[in-house]
Point group: C2
Chain length 171, copies 2
Amino acid sequence: MSNPETDPDATLAFARHDHAHCACDTLARAEAEALRRGARLTPVRKRALEILLEAHRAMGAYEVLDRLAADGFGNQPPVAYRALEFLVDNGLAHRVRRLNAFAACMHPGEDHAPVFLICRVCDAVAEAPGAAVRVALDQAAADLGFAVERANIEALGLCPACAGADQNATA
Amino acid sequence: MSNPETDPDATLAFARHDHAHCACDTLARAEAEALRRGARLTPVRKRALEILLEAHRAMGAYEVLDRLAADGFGNQPPVAYRALEFLVDNGLAHRVRRLNAFAACMHPGEDHAPVFLICRVCDAVAEAPGAAVRVALDQAAADLGFAVERANIEALGLCPACAGADQNATA
DNA sequence: CTATGTATGTAATATCGTAACAGGTCAAGA
DNA sequence: TCTTGACCTGTTACGATATTACATACATAG
C-alpha cells in the first residue's frame, strides 16, 4: 500500500508531475492573488502556504504547526489555525474536513469549486474541477430557497492506482 | 410513497411540519431497512436513532451520548461513536462534518445522495435531494479515473428565513 | 454446552480546535 | 512627534472531538 508520507507520487494529483515546479508556480500565483485581493501574505502565512505546497498533500494543523515552529514561528495551535484560516478565507488553501486537514489550493485566483477525491486505500487526495458539481448544488439549494455561499464537496473512494491494484489482487 | 428526488414537499427542510409524525414514520422505515440489510438494530443503536429523530437536527456525538447515558446505556464516548457509526454505515443517519455532528437520515432505504444545507445564521440543517449533484460528482471523479463510493456534500449559506430577515434588516 | 463472532462497557489517552489576553508593528492623522 | 486604532503574532489555558485497548456480555451455530 502506498502512503502519502512515504510515496509522494501518490499524493495530490493522481499523476506524476514536477512538484518543485508546480509548487513554485502555484506560490507565485498565490502571491499575485493575495496582492490583488489586498490580503497581507505575511511571513507566517506565506511559510504556511509553502509548507502545504511543498508537502503537496493534505496536512493536519498540528503538522503544519510543527514545521512553522521549526522555522522559528510560534509553537502554539492558534499560530497554525490562524494562518490556515487566512489561506482558506483568501482562496489560497482548502480545508478537507473528512481528514481534519488542509491542502494548498492548486488554482488560486481562478473561480473554481474544488471537489476533493480521497482514496480510502492510500489516502491520496486530489483536487478535481467541480464547476458542474457546483452548478448542480446551487440548483438543488435554490429549489429550497437556500443561497449557497461556500461548499465542501468531498468524495471517498478508490483512486486509479489502488483500483488497479485491487483488481490485480482479486484476479 | 414520495420520492425525495422529485417531491420537494418530502424534504420539508426549512418548512414547518409535524415532527412527531415524521420521526415515527421514519423510524419505522429505518427498522424495515435495517431488517432488509440484515443489520442488527440493537437497543443502543435504535435509541441513538430515536434520539436523532426526536431532536430533528444535527447533534454532536457527546450530546447523543448524554442522552444514551440518561437512558441507562454506557456513558463513555465509544458507546455513542459506535452506535452512530453503525447508523451511518447502514444509511440510517448521516454525518455532517462541518458541524462535527450527526443527523438521522430522512429517507432510509431510498438510494439517495444527500446534500446538506447549513444556515450560517440560525444553524438549521436541511437534507436536500442531491441526485443531480451526485451525477455531476461521479462524472468529475470519473474524468480522473476515480471511483466514488461515498460523498459528503455540504453547503454553508443562508436559509430562506434568514435571507428574508437579512433583507428586512438591511432595507 | 461450547466455541465463535459480534456487541457493549469502561478507562485512558490522543487529536483537534478555540477563547482570552498580552505585546508588537505599522500607518494615518492630530 | 505623538497618539490612536487596526491588525498581526505569541502564549496560556482550556474545551471539544475522537480513538485505542482491553474486559465483559451476549447471541447463535455446531
